[in-house]
Amino acid sequence: MNEIAQSGEATSEHIGDVVIDVRNLDTHYGARKILDDVSFEVEKGEIFVILGGSGSGKSTLLRHLIGLHIPSSGSIRIFGKETAGIDEEEWQPLRRRMGVLFQGGALFNSLTVGGNVALPLREYTDLPESTIGIQVRLKLGQVGLAGFENLMPDQLSGGMKKRAGLARAIAMDPEVLFFDEPSAGLDPIAGAGLDELILQLRDTFGMTIVVVTHEMESVKRIADRVIMLFQGEAEAVGTLDEVKKVDHPKVQQFFERTPDKGHTDPAEYLEYLTAGGGREF
């Protein structure tokens, strides 16, 4: 961890403003380290981006934050409550204050779009159906899908599925919203549209938003602060400009979008190909 991350830790004094507080998080599958001593905080009302390449551990980190995967060690405090070692029942009150948009939208195919959005309302509230109907139309309107409530999920495009998934995620007016790769698989226009929605949710409702992504264009547009993961280690935490200045080869490589060095020397590559003289095959 570098000096920016440490300056980030200084904010822990205003504990009231910290929604998510991660300390010394470690995760390994067998001997393989996935996350190594990761610490950061997410403050209320900010858009916090978890940035990293494939295999950097960013998806695992998200799964820890939303309670789908238990870390090997370390602490995650959400709304001030320690989540390490709590059971599903203790997660319940936290989950109702959180919304998650999964990569493909994760809509339930057996329910209509409206049924999907209504599901958390039907399960957690005693609202009459007419009120739920109003809520559903309201939430779908917010994500730009007004009038789509009676369609089935497989009648929607990829971008629309994500929007519908977002409508479901915000159905219970969560305080924190998690996005897993919001722009993955979307064309630039749909991706940009989703970015605008994320900004709107933060600005209009003051939601705290955590986004996992590797899409630099999107990060530039939405991120208040970012954490840069590389092979499970947090290389930098801070604003995008701060992180960009961090003197770490992998961080620089990520921002400059340069490929890993491969077998670029033809003679060396030929040697690699002929190693073993083909006897083994």
């Binding site: 939303i66 989950r95 998650v100 493909g104 809509l107 195919n109 599901l119 958390p120």
Partner: protein
């Protein structure tokens, strides 16, 4: 080495399946009374019941009707040698209610619905829908599995009753049309041969078969890995393992009653 690994794998799979079964039992029998908003989702049970039971009535009826005819023919050719042709009514009634009705129904349902459980839950897992349920605070066992298991253990015995009836009906039709036995006589013999104990034991068996099919389907679905190919593999396994377990349970059950009697 390989044998050891297979054993470890099998033991851990049984352990996990038992854990899942315990959870299903908790959400079926305990949670509805002890937790808020945890009642069995009857709407979902009915939806599944229609798919498992109602939609299978035709195929179960047709297959067991033919099997009833087959067993009537088989027993006729044997019993004729002893001049006891009328006993074929007993043979059909006994074999259908004790063995063929429950077994055939279970195998048909395993192929139709056990596989569907695996495919549905498996693809929901791949599409992160199962994670989405958990993240919403909705328990996947309560939401996806309990309705399927409950519907299954109601549907399989019900279908078995239909199977018993259709098999006997098939036997009767063959007896009166091909073998030329008197219709009333045959029916009287059949009624005399049907032992309510046999029928009940058959239904108890089919209840157990239903549990096995549903649990295998759900377990392999939730354990599926490796994208759509993995779901396909799990679906095949679901049918194979279900049928294997059905036959194994049948053997255990039959042996148990043989020894008790």
């Amino acid at each position: 080495m390989t044998l050891g690994r297979v054993t470890i794998h099998a033991v851990s799979a049984i352990h996990q399946a038992a854990g899942l079964a315990r959870e299903v039992a908790y959400w079926t029998f305990i949670a509805p009374w002890t937790r808020e908003r945890s009642g069995i989702r009857w709407e979902s049970v009915i939806h599944q019941g229609v798919r498992i039971g109602w939609d299978a009535i035709f195929i179960v009826a047709v297959i067991t009707f033919f099997v009833g005819m087959i067993s009537a023919l088989q027993s006729a050719s044997l019993l004729r040698q002893f001049g006891q042709l009328l006993l074929m009514a007993n043979a059909v009634a006994l074999s259908m209610t004790r063995e063929l009705g429950p077994l055939l129904t279970a195998i048909i349902v395993a192929g139709r619905s056990g596989s569907a459980f695996t495919a549905e839950i498996g693809s929901m897992k791949m599409a992160e829908e199962v994670d989405a349920l958990t993240a919403m605070g909705l328990n996947p066992v309560h939401f996806l599995m309990v309705p399927r298991v409950v519907a299954m253990v109601i549907a399989v015995p019900t279908l078995t009753l239909i199977a018993d009836f259709m098999g006997i009906f098939g036997g009767w039709l063959l007896a009166v049309s091909v073998v030329d036995l008197g219709s009333l006589q045959y029916i009287r013999h059949t009624i005399g041969a049907i032992d309510m104990g046999d029928v009940m034991r058959g239904l108890t068996k089919s209840f157990i078969f239903g549990c096995l099919i549903a649990m295998t389907g759900c377990y392999l679905g939730i354990q599926a890995e490796g994208g759509s190919e993995g779901v396909g593999r799990s679906t095949t396994n679901s049918v194979v393992i279900s049928i294997f377990l059905i036959v194994l349970a049948n053997l255990a059950f039959t042996a148990f009653f043989y020894m008790v009697e």
